[in-house]
């Protein structure tokens, strides 16, 4: 059994002191240990941005790809080796701006990947521009007069796209976040966990205090049933998306891999790739 310390490497993150991403890194390390994987069985695929560096800060197999494309890469890894636990991670710009096309299709495709978005509602690494998660009127370097585009309701979007595991958390709540990541990893299908991760340098509006004041934990809502999609949607709309906890899970929706004809549980990467003469002759004969 590995402990969370086994998922630490000696690389010092280049995040600003106080950045929410540190807690998310810790939560991933704890959750991985808690579900019983070992570093060699974990692949963390990340995008580009401050948060995209996370794959380099976890002692596991890691791939830091290109901006917005962590999900197709992660899905390719999972299809190649179903025995791996695959986590994809990146920022809100990565997942909801440049990579939005992949996000929505990964949700509906339902390959067993756990996607953790580190949502700070701003572009940090490029030093403070608006994001699709920024509120209307939000002033940034690229929106000096305030953003005139509406913010994307990603949790509602995930529900309409057919998400089988939709959750949201806050980086300060390490306990809840760790638990949600564990549940996401154990979920047989695509899991989306959006995590509010305050940017202490560029976002002076959505601060730790702001979130503490504005977030509602689903655990405080009486009779909340995370298997009721309609209630999930209503609750999100009532709270303007500012809820934390497991919003919706559909355990009945089969994962993509489980529906692929002839797809084996054994990793595709360890299967023999050579044909024999008889197999080849049969294939060639079809062209005669």
């Amino acid at each position: 059994m590995a402990t969370f310390k086994d998922f630490r490497n000696n690389v010092k993150p280049n995040w600003c002191p106080g950045c929410g991403d540190f807690s998310i890194q810790a939560a991933i390390q704890r959750a991985a240990a808690n579900v019983g994987v070992i570093p060699e069985e974990l692949a963390v695929v990340s995008g580009i941005g401050c948060s995209g560096r996370i794959s380099g800060y976890i002692n596991s197999y890691g791939l830091h790809g290109i901006h917005g494309r962590s999900l197709p890469i992660a899905q390719g890894v999972k299809m190649a080796n179903r025995e791996l636990t695959v986590i994809a991670s990146g920022g809100d710009g990565d997942g909801f701006a440049i990579g939005m096309g992949h996000t929505i299709h990964a949700i509906r495709r339902n390959i067993d990947v756990t996607y953790i978005v580190m949502d700070n509602q701003i572009y940090g690494l490029t030093k403070g521009q608006t994001s699709p998660r920024s509120e209307m009127g939000f002033k940034t370097k690229s929106t000096p007069a305030g953003s005139i585009e509406s913010s994307l309701s990603v949790m509602e979007m995930a529900l309409t796209a057919g998400g089988s595991f939709v959750a949201q958390s806050f980086s300060s709540d390490l306990k809840e976040l760790t638990s949600l990541i564990e549940q996401g990893i154990n979920h047989k299908g695509f899991s989306l966990i959006n995590v509010f991760s305050p940017c202490v340098t560029f976002n002076k509006v959505n601060t730790y205090d702001w979130f503490k004041e504005n977030l509602t934990s689903l655990s405080t809502i009486e009779d909340y049933d995370p298997h009721n999609r309609m209630q999930a949607m209503n609750t999100l709309m009532e709270h303007d998306g500012l809820v934390t906890g497991l919003i919706y899970q559909n355990k009945e929706k089969p994962s993509y891999e489980s529906l692929v004809t002839g797809f084996k549980d054994e990793a595709l990467s360890s299967q023999d790739i050579s044909l024999n003469q008889e197999q080849f002759d049969k294939l060639a004969a079809e062209f005669m």
Partner: protein
């Protein structure tokens, strides 16, 4: 008796033109004739003129012909658009239904045959294409029995009655035409073929079969003309071998998903055409800097933008070589025949894994979609080489905090590769410049060491690559060296004897490896020729420019065609002649 002829069927898209050509040529292929087809079609499903031109020969042929002997027309437009190709004494067989007329001054012979009426009387007008096949068979002097196996293959699933009705339609078409044309038509009777059964396939079939044979087990792809047949074949076949195809949301996803699967140890490819390749460029760079094997097929079509999406062109060459930002080692292969497409698809995976680089196979529309007779493919030649991929699972233990040296600087530049899941193989992979363990590094010394390591990997490739230039050299001292790439091979080969007959000594080189450029292999050919001319389907002479850039040569002439159609042998013949 004749040894070869050209036959074309045309009509509105969606009325069975494709299947008419398919049945006609499959049956002839099974008799041992060599077929070479080219489809003229538009980017729409119903309506618009379409035609399928098929060359039939008793010996190997890899080019469309200059002229046309038989034109089967389902509408007047087919006659109006194509009659100029007809040779003197050529025959037009048109459906009586539309009252076919020959344009003024035409030297062809017209026969109206009631395709639709006969088919309707026999049960359904859908069989009008079978009547047309029968009429054509009469001209060629072939027995209608040869269609039996093909018709069974296509229609037996619908019941024996359907098979026999279709055969009736073929026979009735033949009988009608025989009666109608008696003594009033030239000799189109084909000499007997050798009776050997050979493969009949398009380039995309060969690429897909090659990928499967070469161990590819995963293909993420986005549909596009003229590449989709590759994914369509593999989704039918891969499940039997444990793999699958995913139709992705776009080509960026296709390319990055393939990178993910290759990184995790599965041979994986994607295929597209120019627009898709443009979208993949950033990801190809990721494959390059992370040294993740990757195979991509680019079936070239008319560009730029949407360009001529269903037409022949060879204008992506520069984009495939130089398209990615920054500098990476990359291989660009260019098969010149369907056979080569098969073997090259296998070799592409070997090269991608041995050198840990992205490999692009470029074809062109004529090669990817032209259906032709192919000599038997040799399974004995299939060889799977995975380079420095370590699957021993006995790696030495790593110290805490130290990663496996996935990017170890080595003499040949290639490092040992391990895949996720392997014990003691932990390492990081990033598109950021990195050190030997894959950890980000901006140190100038490390940058230089890693850059040099990557860039020297391909140094031996041009020497090791099987026939980087396919040489047809009959002269130690030639008047002319003709150079081509992809599907122009057969057309150049057909123009050559005509030039030789006129007293010119001509050598021919078909480039099969576009990058790294086969400078040496070409130089020896260039040195033997007084003039060098490059035949290519683009407007700027991209291959000619590559030669000027890489070789010692005084002058490179160009024969260019970018109107959407493949070269005709006569065009190459005439333009070569004009150089003297």
């Amino acid at each position: 008796m004749i040894n070869q002829l050209s036959w074309k069927v045309g009509g509105q898209q969606g009325e069975g033109i494709e299947s008419t050509g398919e049945i006609f040529s499959m049956a002839l292929n099974r008799q041992g004739y060599y077929l070479y087809g080219y489809r003229h079609f538009s980017s729409r499903i119903k309506g618009g003129h379409t035609n399928n031109k098929i060359r039939v020969s008793t010996s190997a042929t890899n080019s469309i012909s200059d002229d046309l002997d038989i034109l089967v027309a389902f509408d007047q437009e087919t006659i109006d658009v194509n009659h100029h190709e007809l040779s003197t004494g050529g025959v037009v067989i048109g459906d009586s239904k539309f009252g076919p007329k020959l344009p003024e001054g035409s030297h062809a012979k017209l026969f109206a045959v009631p395709f639709t009426e006969i088919a309707t009387e026999l049960g359904t007008s859908l069989m009008k294409n079978m009547v047309a096949v029968g009429a054509s068979a009469s001209l060629l002097g072939i027995n209608t029995d040869i269609f039996q196996s093909v018709v069974e293959q296509i229609f037996l699933k619908k019941g024996e009655a359907v098979v026999s009705k279709n055969m009736d339609a073929i026979r009735t078409g033949m009988e009608y035409f025989e009666k109608e044309s008696q003594g009033n038509v030239g000799d189109f009777k084909l000499a007997e073929a050798d009776g050997q059964s050979r493969l009949f396939m398009i380039g995309n079939d060969a690429l897909a079969l090659g990928a499967l044979t070469g161990g590819a087990r995963f293909m993420p792809a986005y549909p596009i003309t003229p590449a989709s047949e590759i994914m369509e074949y593999l989704i039918k076949k891969l499940p039997e071998y444990g793999g699958t195809v995913i139709q992705t949301e776009d080509e960026i996803a296709a390319c990055t998903m393939a990178i993910g699967a290759n990184y995790a140890g599965v041979r994986s490819l994607t295929a597209s055409a120019g627009p898709g390749l443009s979208l993949m460029m950033e990801a190809i760079g990721l494959s390059g800097i992370t040294e993740t094997p990757l195979v991509i097929v680019d079936t070239q079509r008319g560009g730029p933008s949407t360009g001529l999406p269903t037409k022949q062109e060879q204008s992506d060459i520069f984009a495939m070589i130089y398209g990615t930002h920054g500098e990476i080692p990359k291989v660009v292969m260019a098969p010149s025949s369907v056979e080569e497409a098969f073997y090259d698809a296998i070799e592409a995976f070997n090269i991608a894994e041995e050198y840990q680089v992205p490999v692009i196979i470029v074809t062109d529309l004529a090669l990817s979609l032209g259906k032709q007779t192919v000599n038997p493919l040799d399974f004995e030649k299939v060889d799977i080489r995975r380079g420095k991929l370590d699957t021993t699972e006995e790696l030495p233990e790593l110290d805490k905090g130290v990663y496996f040296k996935r990017y170890e600087v080595t003499e040949d530049g290639v490092s040992k590769r391990v895949i996720p899941g392997m014990k003691h193989g932990l390492h990081h992979v990033t598109g950021v410049e990195h050190n030997e363990q894959g950890k980000p590094s901006e140190s100038p010394e490390n940058r230089k060491a890693q850059m040099d390591k990557r860039m020297r990997k391909l140094a031996p490739l041009a020497d090791r690559f099987p026939n980087p230039v396919l040489k047809f050299e009959n002269h130690d001292e030639a008047d002319l060296l003709v150079i081509g790439v992809n599907s122009t091979r057969g057309t150049i080969q057909e123009a050559l004897p005509r030039l030789e007959k006129e007293g010119l000594k001509v050598n021919h080189g078909q480039i099969r490896l576009l990058h790294p450029f086969p400078t040496e292999a070409l130089q020896s050919m260039i040195d033997k020729a007084k003039k060098v001319v490059v035949v290519e389907n683009n407007a700027t002479g991209q291959v000619a420019q590559l030669i000027k850039m890489n070789n010692k040569v005084d002058k490179v002439e160009s024969i260019l065609k970018y109107d959407g159609n493949p070269f005709l042998p006569s065009e190459i013949h005439n333009e070569c002649k004009e150089l003297f």
